[in-house]
């Protein structure tokens, strides 16, 4: 069958459509994506050599015959194999395709098989020169065109008789150049898209991994904090004591503690570490433990807290500090001896008069400065008196419009419900805080401790 140049063209383009499908399938194989990433294994190298070698054979057998010569895209497979996989894959595929061509025979057998092998080799060389990165669409297409020109040159150089060689080149030269260039364009375009897709996916994965890490870190902070809070509230003769802690979603920072001093004295601590992070949680663990160690068995309040402050300040990095209110409760004397290192001063309600005052005492937050002074004060406790210890998570609980709950509301509730038990009052305060905040989520830890003074046991 004799074809005109035009119909030859059309047929070759039909063939190219098939190649588009093959290109899509090849570029979506596991071997291909591994090699594109630069992950070479014996398996994928051999796999790709066979895949591109097979593609090369397909190129030969799906070619169009003109004057006893087949115009085709045999060189495409080895070229692409070389461009994305290096010389080994390029030459390997070229050898397969070239050998198949050679054994078909014909007067152009030698130049064509050699061209196929060289196509793979040159593709691999370009790969090496570009340090393993894909050269992009324009360069790949240029390479394909030049390779086919070189292929034609080889035919002219080697195939004999010369006049027939010239005929072949005249008839098939242009179609070969254009079809191979177009085939290369298809493949190169797909490869560039694949690379872009992969980079976007990698970026998205990195972002998600970062998010997960942050969430996990905050969870650890929360668990550390919880593990340093007391599990039970001690029962005290003549007093009703209750305490609760609600940590905001994942933060760590508030703490409270009960420290044994003697058979009739107990230390009550409430504190709040600055910041929300794993380092804040660890700092909280440090502070709570240092305070406990400095206070246990010691009846001198200001002095033990000054010691604690020096220890904490030595370890406080980047401005970290902890607010602390520490009070020594004497069950026999019914007194509260206290210091306040920058913490929200607890409320004290007078059982008889109903007056509310604050347990203020001068002192800077713990950890800010070594050797800072703490003012020590004493409060006498009578039957019916009520002390409410809290952290700023209560007074700074915000509603949806960023209005804070405020000290005023806390004072009003304490006054109104002072007849409730310590537990009961805490529940009441929490209920009021939650309904005030409405839909706004809890932004900071909430800690409450209530000490009610009961009848003296005679």
């Amino acid at each position: 069958m004799v074809h005109s140049i035009n119909s030859l063209f059309l047929i070759l383009i039909e063939k190219i459509s098939v190649i588009v499908i093959i290109a899509y399938l090849i570029t979506r194989t596991k071997y291909f994506s591994e090699v594109l990433k630069g992950k070479f294994t014996h398996k994928n190298k051999i796999g790709l050599i066979f895949i591109f070698g097979a593609f090369s054979i397909f190129g030969t057998s799906s070619g169009v015959e003109i004057l006893g010569v087949v115009a085709n895209v045999r060189d495409l497979g080895p070229m692409i194999g070389g461009l994305i996989g290096g010389p080994l894959i390029g030459i390997g595929a070229g050898l397969i395709g070239g050998a198949y061509r050679y054994f078909i025979g014909g007067f152009t057998a030698v130049p064509c098989s050699i061209a196929t092998i060289i196509a793979g080799l040159l593709g691999g060389v370009i790969y090496k020169l570009n340090k393993g990165k894909f050269v992009g669409v324009p360069l790949a297409v240029t390479f394909a065109a030049l390779m086919e020109i070189f292929h034609m040159a080889l035919v002219l150089l080697i195939a004999r008789p010369y006049t027939e060689a010239v005929c072949v080149v005249q008839e098939t030269g242009l179609p070969m150049i254009i079809s191979n260039s177009f085939g290369m364009f298809i493949f190169a375009f797909m490869i560039v898209n694949l690379i872009k897709e992969r980079d976007t996916a990698n970026e998205r994965d990195r972002y998600f991994a970062e998010l997960e890490r942050k969430k996990y870190e905050l969870k650890i902070a929360h668990d550390i904090q919880q593990s340093f809070l007391p599990e039970t509230v001690p029962s005290l003769k003549g007093f009703d004591l209750a305490a609760i802690n609600y940590s905001a979603k994942e933060v760590g920072g508030d703490f409270y503690d009960f420290i044994p001093i003697s058979d009739h004295q107990i230390g009550l601590t409430i504190g709040d570490v600055s910041g929300k992070s794993v380092s804040a949680a660890l700092f909280m663990a440090l502070s709570r433990t240092v305070v406990r160690a400095s206070a246990a068995g010691k009846t001198l309040v200001a002095e033990s807290m000054k010691n604690a402050n020096n220890l904490i300040a030595a370890d406080a990095k980047s401005g970290m500090f902890v607010t602390l209110f520490y009070a020594l409760l004497d069950l026999k004397e019914r007194t509260l001896t206290y210091v306040n290192a920058g913490h929200n001063p607890p409320l004290i309600l007078n059982g008889k008069t109903g007056d509310l005052t604050l347990l203020r005492a001068k002192g800077i937050v713990m950890g800010a400065m070594e050797d800072s002074e703490l003012e020590e004060k004493e409060a006498k406790l009578n039957e019916g008196d009520l002390v409410v210890f809290y952290t700023d998570g209560v007074t700074e609980a915000f509603d949806e419009d960023f209005n804070p709950f405020g000290l005023g509301r806390l004072q009003d509730i304490t006054k109104k419900y002072h007849n409730l038990s310590a537990d009961g009052l805490i529940v009441k305060i929490m209920h009021e805080v939650r309904s005030f905040c409405g839909k706004a989520s809890q932004s900071d830890d909430i800690t409450l401790m209530v000490l009610k003074v009961e009848k003296i046991e005679k």
């Binding site: 709040d272 570490v273 600055s274 910041g275 401005g319």
Partner: protein, 113 residues
Amino acid sequence: MKIEDKSTIKVKIILPEGRLDAQASEELEQNIETLIEEGCTRMVANLDRVEYISSSGLRVLLASLKKLRKNQGDLKLVCLKPYVMEIFEIAGFTNLFEIYDQEDEAIIKFKGN
């Protein structure tokens, strides 16, 4: 947040705005860090536009104060709003920082050195 330069005696004025929550405090910390790296040791933070300060904000101010004082410099504070002043008083920060009502009062204190 703005940063102004009172270059006659090399004092930088920092003007944070809005709520100094954890995120805003981080930004403030980075800005101050940059100034310190550039060699600035004299800063005044004008808190006129700050309506709320969290413990993170306090931490950043304290850390900056310590760093600057270590380098023979200082961080002075001016124009604290009542709510913010209250937080400073409870925390005892009023005994740590020099606090003034106006920028000029603070800047003039640097001249002595």
